[in-house]
């Protein structure tokens, strides 16, 4: 093996890679179910890094033994925290999945862009404003409907 490469280094690279991949998936994925999966992956990386913070290469598992000299143990406190975090993570996952089921019941789709569009339309309808004004889509993404006459007049007057 290459000198300088330790077990801690490999584990840190794995944990950071999992967190980065998970966050990139949360930001970049276009399907809401993939977003939940990316969240699960990022959580796995965070758990690995937490357990790694209490790791010592020359220590044994944190189990007390009735012996005269107790050998050095790895830190049991992060392990207890991670034990809780795993269970809470599954709870969060179940909540996210139930929210996904409700979204699909309401909008019939899980594509991020379509769900956002329908949500925009609903918010605009409930607030009583026109959606063409409230949306801020980049040019070329969603073709805007032609502007009404009075809006075109006021724009021309401003310019």
């Amino acid at each position: 093996m290459i000198p300088g490469v330790t077990l801690e280094l490999i584990l840190y690279v794995t944990a950071l890679g999992l967190v980065i991949i998970g966050l990139a998936g949360v930001v970049l994925s276009s399907h809401l179910f993939r977003m939940v999966l990316a969240l699960v992956i990022a959580e796995a990386g965070a758990n690995l890094m937490l357990v790694l913070s209490g790791y010592r290469w020359d220590a044994v598992a944190p189990i007390l033994m009735q012996r005269a000299e107790q050998p050095a143990m790895v830190d049991p406190v992060p392990q207890a925290m991670v034990l809780t975090a795993i269970v809470i993570g599954v709870g969060i996952q179940a909540l996210a999945v139930s929210i996904l089921i409700r979204i699909r019941q309401r909008y019939g789709n899980l594509k991020r862009r379509e769900v956002a569009e329908k949500m925009d339309a609903e918010i605009a309808a409930s607030a009583g404003i026109r959606r063409d004004i409230s949306q801020d889509a980049p040019l070329g993404e969603r073709p805007l409907s032609p502007l009404p006459a009075h809006t075109a007049e006021s724009r021309g007057g401003d310019a």
Partner: protein
């Protein structure tokens, strides 16, 4: 012994990272859930390697077992359950789930 642990950690880390990427890019949703479960299972093995046997047990049971079960059952409810990648030969499961969507 430490050399062996190093190699095991290296192989598991590469497997987990590639499986995490696969979970985000593969087209089939069920395959993505399976890839996320592989990440969880590798994490359980790494916990056992890092002398945290209780965390490894919990991660293998809850993280790899229960979590992928929840996600797979949610796929059925969401209508994304699909065994085959090709949609030409519609098998029994996708046909039945499609029928359930309409109901």
């Amino acid at each position: 012994m430490s050399e062996v642990e190093l190699w095991i950690a290296l192989i598991l880390g590469i497997m987990m990272l590639s499986s995490a990427v696969l979970a985000l890019v593969v087209k089939n949703h069920l395959a993505a859930v399976a890839a996320a479960s592989v990440v969880s299972l590798g994490l359980a093995l790494l916990f056992a390697l890092m002398r945290a046997p209780d965390v490894a047990m919990t991660e293998a049971a809850v993280g790899a077992g229960l979590s992928s079960l929840i996600l797979a059952l949610a796929l059925r409810r969401l209508g994304l359950w699909q065994i085959d990648s090709g949609s030409e030969n519609s098998n029994l499961l996708s046909a039945s789930s499609k029928g359930k969507d309409d109901a």
